[in-house]
Amino acid sequence: MIPLSHYLIVSGILFSIGLAGLLLRRNLLLVLLSVEIMLNAANLNFIAGSAAHSDTGGQVIAFFVMVVAAAEVTIGLAIAVLLFRKQSSVDTRDISFLKG
């Protein structure tokens, strides 16, 4: 039987990898992909907690996370397509319309 802490450590490593990708990527699409890794790490944490406490609530929360991720991807990709249409680049350094 795998102890809970092993699952927590795996999900922590995955979350850190996603965070590193968020900080070190410059392509907007790959930044969104890193956010997906972080959401999956959180899901793994929820499901490990669900198994430890023998409570189905954790799995239900994992479903809610998936729904929020789907909504986030829809809007994020629409924004990326718009940006690409406007300036034919998805580099996060080029997004500076709001700079004073």
Binding site: I2, I17, N40, M66, L82
Partner: protein, 164 residues
């Protein structure tokens, strides 16, 4: 058997995620994310969450990541990422990695100290999940339906041409 599956699929998940942030071609990064998600699905199955595992494959690997693939393909050759070392000034990258490592060490310290549970697992079949979802979590469920509707509106509003 369980231990072998756990460590092998954890390793695949971690390596796949590392590839996602290190590979310079977006399509390859995306495909390795699909690999990582499939490995995470094995972890869900080990934790007795069968329905979540299948939904993960269908919703994430099947729908969300294919949507990503379409958008990456739409951009064609323009979607190339700058090589890792030229992306940011070295000091900025080092500061980012340092912050992530500090976070990771704090997290692992807390995880190691977590109390021991018997990992008996919650029932993960459709029936018990549905009972929990529609009894204890009815309001959040309704709110997610509103969220999905709003995100559809937002996507349509964003995708529509300005002069239309």
């Amino acid at each position: 058997m369980e231990a072998v599956l756990f460590y092998a699929s954890s390793a695949v998940a971690i390596l796949g995620s590392l590839m996602v942030i290190l590979l310079s071609k977006p399509t390859r990064a995306l495909l390795s994310l699909i690999l990582a998600m499939t490995a995470i699905t094995v972890l869900y199955l080990l934790l007795n969450a069968h329905f979540v595992a299948i939904a993960q494959i269908i919703v994430y690997a099947g729908a969300v990541l294919v949507l990503f693939l379409f958008v990456i393909m739409l951009q064609g050759t323009a979607a190339v990422e700058i090589p890792l070392l030229k992306r940011f000034p070295p000091l900025t990258s080092a500061a980012g990695i340092l912050a992530v490592l500090i976070f990771l060490s704090l997290f692992i310290r807390a995880a190691v100290r977590s109390p021991e549970f018997k990992m008996i697992g919650a029932p993960g079949d459709v029936k018990s999940l549905g009972l929990t979802l529609f009894s204890g979590y009815l309001l959040p469920f309704q709110l997610t339906s509103i969220l999905l509707l709003l995100s559809v509106f937002a996507a349509v509003a964003l995708a529509k041409k300005e002069d239309a």
